[in-house]
């Protein structure tokens, strides 16, 4: 059976060869299927199975899956396709031709012409169906001969010719379909397996071959002519862009015909239109000679192509044929007589004949272009909506609009002064036999960067030229519905590079750098080509060539290698050539560096050696090997280093055999180990281990041994513990310490335990290293061993163990650590720190036990402190219990801890504790705890304290009053107030003190009352001082009102000291009233000095509040310089340049004697130099009153003599490349 099959295949192959020979005269057949693989085919849409069996492609249906297509990767336009197929009856299939799959067409749905394979009784095999698009185009119902041509259960043969707009099919040699259709001319070929309700149905194809006629039938290159010369738009910059866009497609050769300029005789303008496949008009201006007009009309009527680009539709308003060609146009007096406006309303094109002038547009803006003819070849596969770059949206264009197809519209938004209509943006016109593509987009070169413009322009031009579009690919960077996509253009002045040198303007170079930053990688080859001339030019300076090399580092490719390798021998430029070559991916770059080794000497060669090392170029091992023993030590060292960096066994081999002077031994050893590292990484474990083992021997230097051990630990993970232990037990401390680092890098609990178990066997240094490393690992498995080390032994070891316990320990470490904490100050510090950090679920409860019941009170106290250090709120109940301990020190520690940890709800217990306390130390301790609690509490409640006050005896009351003052609410105030007339003088005083400490001004009245009425001098003093203090607490009160209250206090105060205290407060409330009060106080000689000071300060403050400021730069922040806050600043927001200024307006005239600039918070930003001017009107400045150069972060400027002025101006006169000028605070010296 097998044998027969193969015979059959051979026979088939033979027959194919025969027919290939027979048809050789017709053209070159190419096989689309290699008989073995599905290379160059790609499956789309459904999930049917495609396999290769015995030189056939077999398609198998899968139950309930959509249509599947096995598509050629390549696109074809004109061709003859032949194939054979064997289809299982009941199945449906077909051959797709000129088919496509686009993201924006039903999510990649394969669509296009399908030559039907129909096993049903209908028997339309060979008919043409438009898959995924229009349905049947050529059914076979009128072709009985063709219907009979298909044979069930046999191999059938199809011949399909798709040439131009005609598609014909033959079934087993019988003509079937003959279709003329111009919708799609390019696409892939695909083998369909129809979606099926039956699984495992099979169709087989073989002998699939094609004659690609595209190049023969289509024009080799389309000839295009751009017409320009006059335009109200910048035609000089857009024509080159249009030309480049067309030429970049590879389809067009473009000429340009430029008319005489405006007003000049036009007679000479006679382009030979008929020599071109398409005319692109970028022209609007003077009329052409009649002969030229006639030539264009003839050309078009006979099947020419015309593209109207943007303002070209402004041209020739009176030329009837022109207006028929362009469909609609604008301006130039066009109006309702020119024809209708064409709009898109309710899903269809309508003509609007309402009167009005033709042509308008609002301000430029980005707008959406909406596809209206998605099957038109110009629009095929483009998204329904895409955002066009900021452009003029042409509206109200008018014209005959005959034979016009609107491909796309744009909505002219009234918000952008638009018409509120969907205006045609892209359209085609049939004129005679000719085709016109009209795009209103592309105002200037910038708009021509829009990928949407580019795609439709090049497709539209091809369509105008040929009536078809072969550019079916939708670019990846095509705009989306809401995002504009612009394509980069290369516009830098690359010729300027040659003229650059150090110290000259870098502007042109910076522009090139910026261009390279914005260009896509696909443009790099072009940039590279533009950079290279400067590299080769003899005119270019070193700096210019250096610049090119820097840029080639970013864009360079094999194209630059010859020029760069030529530079390698240049003493000045060699490094820069390597700058570009070093990481260039092209293998040629490496080859150039290797080749240079033979030609170079000395440092230049060393540089190349280094680069080869950095490239990791293994093919360089052999040439580098020769240099390892170079007489030049620097050369040898570089070669050794490079071999290490390159790594691998070949380099290791070279290094192992090398004999080098002692001075290079460490380099050699290091490189040898680096090779081992790379070998290990690449899976050569055994060989790498051998190198590590060799290098770890004791006759090597310490650091090489360290590195070798590191390698061994990495390579032999199973033996890592013995290796580390060997290091830890070595006499060389350096090895011990390296072990510490390696432990940190070797994971695993088993490793932790294995190492920790050996702790006791190490010397002190080894122990410390291991303990630190165990701490770093944080693995709890080490805890028991670490605990032993913490308990006893040499103190430095114990300290390390205690530190480690913080991380590796847990509840079981609590007792040990608390006990250790009382042994010595050093141990205490470490132990308390570790106790605070200890984590684990039972830590708190063990601490509680120790705190309550340990035999040693010192241990208990440290346990209490630890609760605080741990911010452990669960400790409170235990602490309340401990707070009643017999030991006074423990009680006090507990009070303190409660102050930190307890809350509002614990106050009641503390009050009762306070009531019972019989020593003043206990009472003080409890009071401080309560104060700490209420201060921490957001809204403390007084009730517990107030009810305590009722029960308290006289010795306790003052403590409760203090607590109440910190609570400071109404209930507390009432309670304190009630004690003001206590029988006991001390309690009265305590009550006044409590009011004086109130957090708000509520007790002001009470205090004034006491001050007025009390006959006790001390109480009166306390009340006055408290009153003044409370005035300072936040209140919704104006300065004037406060001053009024201070005035009252002044009246009531009996002693000078209190009056002075009132005055001292006064300067904080600057206002007219304060001045009056201070002036009145001047009358009192004993207060004169203080009053004078208040007057001066108040005046100054009043003045600064009316200050206005202005600055030449960053004016918005100017006020920061006078806001009294040295943390905020004004700055120039640019580096210092002469002429930057800062002006103060004092509001009224004052006498100024100088000023101070404080820039200490930005210590480099003091002025490089300054001039100070004054003026009465802010405009006439005269000569500077002070100038200076050597400013400092704090610059004090004194005027020669005080000046009367309203405006003061500071002008900065220095220059700095990096610093701003700033002023954090500006103060004026006033007289």
């Amino acid at each position: 059976m097998k044998k027969r099959t193969s015979l059959l295949v051979t026979a088939c192959l033979a027959s194919m060869m025969v027919s290939a020979v027979a048809l050789a005269g017709d053209g070159d057949w190419q096989s689309l299927f290699d008989g073995k693989t599905l290379d160059h085919w790609v499956q789309r849409n459904g999930k049917a199975k495609y396999t290769v069996e015995d030189g056939m492609i077999v398609g198998t249906t899968i139950l309930n899956t959509p249509n599947s297509f096995l598509c050629t990767e390549k696109m074809y336009t004109d061709y003859i396709l032949e194939l054979e197929f064997l289809v299982q009856p009941g199945m449906n299939s077909g051959i797709q031709i000129r088919s496509n799959s686009f993201k924006h067409y039903n999510n990649y749905r394969v669509h296009g012409y399908q030559v039907e394979i129909d096993t049903s009784d209908r028997a339309w095999s060979g008919g043409i169906y438009d898959e995924g698009r229009r349905g049947w185009l050529f059914p076979l119902k009128d072709k009985p001969a063709a219907q009979k041509a298909f044979k069930q259960n046999q191999w059938n043969h199809y011949r399909i010719e798709a040439i131009g707009d005609r598609i014909r099919t033959w079934v087993n040699g019988v003509p079937a379909a003959d279709l003329t259709d111009e919708m799609t001319s390019t696409g892939f070929i695909a083998l369909q397996v129809h979606g099926s309700k039956t699984a495992d149905q099979k169709i087989k194809w073989r002998n699939i071959r094609i004659q690609d006629l595209t190049r023969k039938n289509g024009p080799q290159t389309l000839k295009a002519l751009i017409v320009d010369g006059q335009n109200n738009h910048d035609w000089k910059s857009t024509t080159p862009v249009l030309k480049a866009l067309l030429e970049e497609t590879g389809l067009f050769a473009v000429d340009v015909a430029t008319t005489p300029s405006k007003g000049k005789p036009m007679g000479s303008f006679k382009p030979k239109f008929d020599r071109y496949d398409v005319i692109v008009s970028n022209y609007t201006g003077d009329s052409w000679p009649q002969a030229t007009q006639d030539a264009l009309v003839d050309y078009m009527a006979n099947g020419g192509g015309l593209v109207i680009y943007h303002a070209a539709d402004n041209a020739f308003p009176k030329w009837k044929e022109w207006n028929e060609m362009i469909g609609v146009g604008g301006w130039g007096g066009r109006n309702e007589k020119s024809g209708p406006m064409v709009r898109y309303r309710d899903g269809k094109v309508v003509f609007d004949n309402s009167p009005g002038s033709g042509g308008s547009h609002g301000p430029q803006h980005a707008f959406q272009v909406i596809t209206r003819e998605r099957h038109h070849p110009i629009m095929a596969g483009l998204p329904k909506k895409w955002m066009h770059s900021k452009d003029e949206l042409y509206s109200t264009l008018r014209g005959p609009a005959k034979n016009m197809t609107v491909l796309a519209t744009a909505y002219a938004d009234p918000a952008k002064r638009g018409t509120g209509e969907h205006e045609p943006a892209l359209f085609t016109i049939k004129y005679g036999k000719g085709r016109v593509f009209h795009t209103v987009l592309g105002h200037a070169a910038e708009q021509c960067r829009c990928v949407g413009f580019i795609t439709t322009f090049v497709r539209g031009t091809e369509w105008a030229a040929t009536g078809r579009v072969t550019q079916m690919d939708v670019p990846d960077d095509f705009p989306t519905a809401d995002e504009v996509r612009l394509r980069a253009t290369i516009s830098g002045d690359y010729k300027a590079i040659e003229n650059y040198d150090f110290g000259k303007s870098r502007a042109a170079l910076a522009a090139i750098e910026e261009e390279i930053r914005t260009l896509p990688r696909s443009s790099f080859a072009k940039v590279e080509a533009k950079l290279l001339p400067a590299l080769k030019s003899s005119k270019s300076s070193f700096a210019a060539k250096q610049f090119v090399c820097r840029m080639l580092r970013r864009v360079g490719s094999v194209q630059s290698v010859p020029a760069l390798s030529a530079m390698l021998a240049d003493k000045k430029l060699s490094h820069m050539a390597r700058f570009a070559l070093l990481h260039m991916p092209a293998p040629e770059a490496g080859a150039a560096l290797r080749a240079a080794l033979d030609k170079l000497e000395g440092d230049l060669k060393i540089g190349v050696v280094g680069s080869l090392g950095q490239r990791g170029d293994r093919t360089a091992v052999e040439p580098l090997a020769k240099l390892v023993t170079d007489r030049n030590k620097a050369m040898a060292r570089a070669a050794i280093g490079a071999l290490g960096r390159i790594g691998g066994s070949q380099a290791a081999d070279v290094l192992s055999k090398a004999n080098v002077p002692a001075a290079l031994q460490a380099d050699l050893d290091n490189a040898y180990l680096m090779c081992a590292d790379s070998m290990l990484e690449e899976g050569q474990e055994r060989q790498a281990t051998a190198i590590y083992r060799e290098m770890s021997s004791a006759d090597n230097s310490t650091w090489i041994r360290v590195a070798a051990y590191k390698g061994l630990i990495k390579a032999e993970k199973a033996k890592s513990v013995p290796y580390i232990l060997a290091l830890l037990k070595d006499d060389d401390l350096n090895l011990q310490r390296a072990a510490g680092k390696f432990i940190a890098e070797t994971p695993g609990t088993a490793v932790t335990e294995a190492l920790a178990r050996e702790l006791a066997s190490l010397n002190a240094d080894g122990k410390i290293v291991l303990l630190s490393a165990l701490e770093g690992r944080g693995d709890k498995a080490a805890a028991p061993y670490v605990a032993k080390a913490a308990a006893r032994g040499e103190e430095r070891v114990r300290l390390a163990a205690i530190r480690a316990l913080a991380v590796v320990g847990g509840a079981e470490s609590v007792k040990l650590l608390t006990e250790v904490s009382v042994e010595s100050p050093a141990l205490e510090k470490a132990a308390m720190n570790s106790l605070a950090r200890l984590s684990g679920p039972q830590v708190a409860s063990v601490l509680s036990t120790v705190m309550k019941s340990h035999a040693d009170p010192s241990v208990r106290i440290n346990a209490i402190e630890t609760r605080v250090n741990r911010r452990d709120k669960t400790a409170v109940s235990g602490l309340l219990w401990v707070a009643q301990d017999d030991d006074a020190d423990i009680r006090r520690a507990a009070y303190k801890a409660l102050g930190s940890l307890a809350g509002q709800r614990d106050l009641e217990l503390l009050v009762s504790m306070l009531l019972k306390a019989d020593s003043s130390r206990d009472r003080g301790g409890i009071e401080r705890a309560m104060v700490a609690i209420v201060v921490r509490t957001e809204e403390p409640k007084a009730s517990a304290v107030v009810s305590g006050l009722a029960k308290a005896d006289d010795s306790v009351k003052p403590h409760l009053l203090t607590v109440l003052s910190r609570i400071g609410d109404d209930e507390a105030l009432k309670a304190v107030r009630s004690q003001l007339d206590s029988r006991d003088a001390d309690i009265r005083k305590a009550a006044i003190r409590a009011l004086a400490d109130w957090p708000n001004p509520a007790p002001l009245g009470d205090l004034m009352n006491v001050a007025k009425t009390s006959d006790d001098a001390t109480q009166q003093i306390l009340a006055i001082r408290g009153y003044v203090k409370l005035l300072g607490t936040p209140a919704n009160r104006s300065a004037a009102e406060t001053v009024k209250l201070l005035g009252k206090a002044m009246q009531v105060a009996k002693r000078t000291e209190e009056k002075k205290a009132v005055l001292a407060a006064l300067s904080k409330y600057p206002c007219k009233e304060a001045l009056a009060l201070a002036e009145k106080a001047m009358e009192n000689t004993s207060l004169r000095r203080e009053a004078e000071l208040v007057l001066k300060r108040t005046k100054e403050t009043l003045l600064s509040s009316s200050l206005k400021v202005q600055a030449s730069r960053n004016n918005g922040n100017a006020k920061n310089a006078i806001d009294g806050n040295p943390a905020t600043r004004w700055d120039t927001a640019e580096t210092m340049r002469p002429g930057q200024w800062f002006v103060l307006d004092l509001g009224t005239e004052n006498v100024v004697s100088g000023l101070t600039l404080d820039t200490r918070r930005s210590s480099n930003d003091y002025p490089g130099g300054y001039e100070v001017y004054v003026s009465f009107d802010g405009g006439s400045w005269g000569k500077p009153v002070a100038t200076g150069k050597d400013a400092k972060p704090l610059t004090e400027i004194k005027f020669d003599k005080p000046v009367r002025t309203r405006f003061v101006k500071i002008v900065q006169t220095g220059t700095s490349g990096s610093w701003y000028w700033s002023i954090h605070e500006l103060t004026l010296d006033l007289q």
Partner: protein, 427 residues
């Protein structure tokens, strides 16, 4: 490895081992002061690069009782003379030696550690050389000028078991650790996005080639960087030229990106996508971006935006489902004051605590623990800045594999991960 070959090599090694070893560079075994012959607390240090930052760092170390600063190095004579005087004044002797060439300083053989404060383009070579000589290093941020240099430095740190601390001292500042702990412990909920604000660049300057000042070794200062004539840019202003630095971006990436990473637990990883734009000076000598903004997307989809402080307030800011936290040198703030008062419980995440950056380095030199800012973390922090630089320079979205440290599918961008060294320097 074929054993007969290694024997050849070993034989030779035995013959030459010890011969002139004391003269050799850098094969010398440093005489550790922790050995039997030296006080166990003494750390003998050298300072390479003693300009303004280096002198500041050196003063910090001079203030530590356990440090003995015995050597200083700078390519500018005035710098090294001043530094030597500072050391001699501190110890009341004239023992400090000054060097022009860092190779001689490293080759002394009696140092335990060095501090490096050099321009970014000079970070890798001395560091790797010092690591190979067994020295621990306090190195200034940013960790490296390129990611490939940084990787080579990290590898050397690991290979030789050295202690490294990057000078990102914000990690030793309470408010930064506090901010990160609040974020790490979910006080603002799941993190939605991160913003990092860094200083804005200062524009450009125009300078003509000029005479190299006496006392400055210009060629040595340039070192591995491309040759350019001296144009008055040496100390400080080198930051604005891409041959030496990435400007404010890379200067500060080692601070605020570092903190943002710490708060996210991204210390040992990096973004997977980076995309952004920079404004580059249109003319003049300086060429780093003045304004810049780029987005970094991490594996879990979280986006961190890095921009200059005119676009994003300076510092690190985390936005979570329940609010935000912002930290900068100016202070710590949050969407709600209450967040800042939250206590971190004993069983929650507590970050590495260091209260004194330089002390942390010295402690780790003794304990061999990882420092608060180890090499790998320093590299990951600056990598974000360097990748941002590449994304802005190429104008493209960069796809990054943080595990293999490779740019995916963009060889031109990959070329910017490393840079060629000017001869005779090699990496």
């Amino acid at each position: 490895m074929n054993s007969s070959r290694s024997i050849t090599r070993r034989d030779f090694f035995r013959r030459t081992a010890g011969v002139g070893a004391a003269m050799a560079f850098p094969a010398i075994v440093p005489r550790s002061v922790f050995g039997a012959n030296a006080p166990s607390n003494r750390i003998v240090m050298g300072a390479i690069g003693v300009g303004s930052q280096g002198t500041g760092d050196m003063r910090g170390f001079l203030g530590k009782s356990e440090v003995q600063m015995v050597a200083v190095c700078d390519v500018e004579k005035a710098h090294r003379d001043r530094a030597k005087k500072l050391c001699d004044d501190r110890y009341g002797n004239s023992d400090c030696r000054s060097y022009l060439d860092f190779r001689e300083l490293i080759g002394r053989g009696d140092l335990d550690a060095v501090m490096l404060a050099l321009p970014d383009h000079w970070h890798a070579i001395p560091a790797i050389m010092a690591l190979r000589a067994g020295l621990d290093i306090h190195g200034q941020k940013p960790f490296a000028r390129s990611i490939r240099e940084g990787r080579a430095m990290c590898d050397a740190v690991h290979r030789y078991g050295r202690v490294w601390q990057t000078g990102s001292q914000q990690r030793s500042d309470y408010k930064f650790r506090r901010a990160c702990e609040l974020v790490r412990n979910g006080r603002i909920g799941k993190i939605l996005k991160v913003e990092v604000g860094l200083p804005t660049g200062g524009g450009t300057d125009v300078k003509a080639p000029a005479q190299v000042p006496a006392g400055l070794d210009w060629d040595f200062w340039l070192g591995p960087a491309p040759y350019v004539p001296y144009r008055g840019v040496v100390h400080w202003n080198w930051r604005w030229i891409m041959d030496y630095s990435g400007g404010q971006l890379t200067d500060w990436a080692g601070h605020h990106i570092d903190i943002a990473h710490w708060g996210m637990g991204w210390d040992y990883t990096g973004p997977v996508e980076i995309e952004g734009k920079g404004n580059y000076p249109k003319d003049g000598l300086y060429n780093v971006p003045t304004e810049y903004r780029f987005n970094c997307t991490y594996k879990d989809g979280t986006v961190m935006t890095v921009a200059n402080n005119k676009q994003i307030p300076q510092g690190a800011k985390w936005y979570g489902e329940k609010g935000w936290i912002h930290v900068s040198r100016g202070g710590l703030s949050a969407s709600n004051e209450k967040i800042l008062k939250e206590e971190i419980g004993p069983n929650e995440i507590h970050l590495y605590e260091s209260r004194d950056h330089k002390q942390n380095f010295l402690d780790c030199v003794k304990s061999r623990k990882l420092t608060i800012c180890p090499a790998e973390v320093g590299l990951r922090s600056i990598s974000v800045g360097l990748l941002g630089e590449i994304a802005m320079l190429t104008g493209r979205k960069i796809k990054w594999n943080p595990d293999t440290e490779e740019i995916i599918g963009d060889p031109e961008a990959s070329a910017l991960l490393g840079r060629s060294y000017r001869e005779p320097w090699v990496l």
